[in-house]
């Protein structure tokens, strides 16, 4: 049996492929949009995963340190370490700063401050591409590769110059800014130290001294056999702090930090999928209209409608499938050029494939409608 769809496509192969490429690029953009969402969601939890703490202790009644600002005394880490069930703790600071590269271009980063001598591993060893983690208490910095800084580079920050001792791969904050790591002491100076004019001004106002022994959060690991939730409740009851388990902090990140952005991207993606479906429908409608005289002839000479309908449906589904392949190739070719991380996942691709096949099927109904409506009598009389 002659396959009409195969014959028709072969006859107009270049036109069919160019059409599929056009639709494919649109699908590629849809995939990138989904990838941006995935990247955002993944970035939001990256630091959480890297530090892998059981508890995140923050200023009372705040959603810190990611969703709200939070300040704690540094010695909170010692108080918490003494609690029953707590294995180890680490005080952290997190702050957005701007560094300047050799070309004096601003590079926005998030600086994570931690005690290099502490027993909590803040930088996972597998992330280190070159150099090492922090060792000294001052003027060392570990940078993420996306910042563009190189190992051994000198970077000015505040009143001091930092030496890049390590480069890590792909570490970003919940907002997608690349991370740099400095010692807790340096971070406290950067975040909490005032400038000389400000100190003089404060002294004139009778405000003496400044407390730089502050941190934004204290993370903790609980001992085996202890429940993180129970330890968190104990901290909240007796220490007037708020403590979140790993899962609660993840929820805060997804609900409070990236919710609006993800909804925005989700809506944009849904519109793009809808537009893709409409475009496929219009293409099939046009392709069917181009063949309407032949279809009328086929119906007149007795070719069953099911044969013509089969041709339209096969062409539509094939168009959707080829567009999907082109879309994937296109997305994989360009995704690395985006400034924020784009995560392309095969299950998202497969879901989009199912949606596009469904959309293609629905779009083919437009062509099928034209086939059913084609009047065989129109073939007679010119």
């Amino acid at each position: 049996m002659i396959n009409l769809a195969y014959k028709d496509i072969r006859h107009t192969l270049s036109k069919f492929l160019v059409t599929a490429m056009g639709v494919g690029m649109l699908l590629g953009i849809v995939l990138i949009m989904i990838g941006v969402y995935r990247g955002m969601a993944d970035d939001a939890r990256m630091l959480l995963r890297d530090i892998n703490a059981d508890l995140w202790v923050v200023q009372q009644q705040t959603l810190g340190p990611f969703a709200e600002s939070s300040r704690l005394h540094q010695d909170t880490q010692d108080i918490l370490r003494a609690l029953d069930g707590v294995d180890k703790t680490a005080a952290l600071t997190l702050q957005n700063i701007q560094l300047y590269n050799r070309q004096q271009q601003a590079v926005r980063v998030m600086a994570v401050g931690f005690d290099p001598a502490g027993d909590f591993q803040i930088i996972p060893a597998q992330r280190i591409l070159a150099g090492r983690s922090l060792r000294a208490q001052h003027f060392e910095m570990v940078v993420t590769d996306k910042t563009g800084f190189q190992l051994g580079e000198q970077i000015a920050l505040g009143r001091d110059t930092y030496h890049v001792v390590g480069v890590v791969q792909g570490s970003v904050s919940s907002s997608g800014d690349p991370l740099v790591y400095i010692s807790l002491k340096d971070a406290q100076n950067v975040q909490f130290s005032y400038s000389n004019p400000r100190i003089r001004n404060d002294r004139a106002r009778g405000l003496l001294g400044q407390n730089t022994q502050l941190v934004n959060t204290v993370v903790a690991k609980v001992r085996p056999g202890y429940s993180a939730q129970e330890v968190a409740e104990q901290i909240e009851t007796w220490k007037h702090l708020t403590a979140y388990t790993h899962e609660q902090q993840a929820t805060i990140l997804s609900r409070n930090v990236i919710e609006r952005s993800s909804k925005q991207i989700g809506l944009f993606t849904a519109i793009l999928v809808l537009v893709s479906g409409i475009i496929i429908g219009l293409i099939i409608y046009t392709m069917t209209l181009e063949k309407i005289k032949e279809i009328s002839i086929m119906k007149l000479i007795g070719i069953p409608s099911r044969m013509v309908v089969k041709m339209i449906m096969q062409e539509t589904l094939l168009l959707g499938a080829i567009a999907f392949v082109f879309g994937n190739i296109f997305a994989h070719l360009i995704y690395a050029q985006f400034p924020k991380r784009v995560v392309l996942m095969w299950n998202d691709s497969l879901l989009l494939f199912a949606i596009i096949l469904t959309a293609s099927f629905l779009a083919s109904l437009v062509g099928v409608y034209k086939v059913m409506k084609a009047d065989p009598a129109s073939a007679i009389g010119g």
């Binding site: 009409l4 007795g302 009389g381 010119g382």
Partner: protein, 235 residues
């Protein structure tokens, strides 16, 4: 010779009441298998209407249509599936060849028999024989776009013959051809009618082609005047 098509008191009225327009008013004629009949009439006299009715595309308002021994219309269709009747009993040839542009010559001729679920080898053999018979044996795998107008019209004739129909309806098959090729096609249709024993009704405006026909059907005020072409006039 046996009957190819017989029409009894065929009528067609468009519209109803005061707006009713009676186009065909009790047409009667018969074309035997092996005969080539010309259907002539001025524009607007109802040629296309008559052709569509006997081609089972348009439902008449009354009368009878017989294709061979089968009565396909007796004040209503005798079968639910007019398309099957068209596929099995009627061949169509049009002004333009209207071949399917994405199928080659052999596929264009084989397509319709394939829907009748005949054996593939048999279909191919018959299509090849037909194309050979029509002088296109060398062009089996050519695309319609690679052939001349006359060659394409011969492929269209082969397509019309592919299901061994009882009747072929040719709607001005020479309209798009120059006079030399028009004569050649008319001659071919006559030859086919005789050799394939099929009744052919050819709509034409060109009186120069009438000598190729056995019979002339002229629509006159909604009725058919039938006249035989004198044997000494037949080319």
């Amino acid at each position: 010779m046996s009957t190819g098509i017989r029409i009894e008191n065929l009528q067609k009225t468009y519209g109803q009441g005061d707006n009713a327009v009676e186009v065909i008013k009790g047409a009667c004629f018969e074309v035997q298998r092996g005969e080539l009949a010309a259907l002539i009439a001025p524009s607007g006299a109802g040629k296309s209407t008559l052709l569509m009715m006997i081609g089972c595309v348009l439902e008449p308002s009354g009368g009878e249509i017989w294709l061979g021994d089968t009565q396909v219309y007796a004040d209503r269709w005798t079968t639910k599936d007019a398309r099957t009747i068209r596929r099995e009993k009627i061949g169509f040839i049009f002004q333009a060849h209207y071949l399917i542009p994405f199928l080659n010559v052999l596929e264009n001729v084989s397509l319709l028999p394939q829907t009748n679920k005949e054996p593939e080898a048999l279909i191919r053999k018959r299509a090849t024989q037909l194309l050979d018979y029509l002088g296109l044996g060398e062009k089996l795998y050519a695309m319609p776009s690679d052939l001349s107008g006359g060659q394409n019209q011969r492929v269209a004739i082969a397509r019309a013959l592919a299901t061994e129909p009882q009747i072929i309806l040719a709607d001005e098959p020479t309209a798009a051809l120059d006079i030399e090729r028009a004569h050649s096609v008319a001659k071919l249709l006559r030859q086919i009618a005789k050799e394939q024993q099929v009744a052919i009704i050819m709509v034409t405006h060109d009186e120069r082609l009438l000598p190729y026909c056995d019979k002339i059907l002229k629509i006159n005020e909604g009725k058919i005047d039938t006249s035989q072409v004198e044997s000494d006039q037949v080319i």
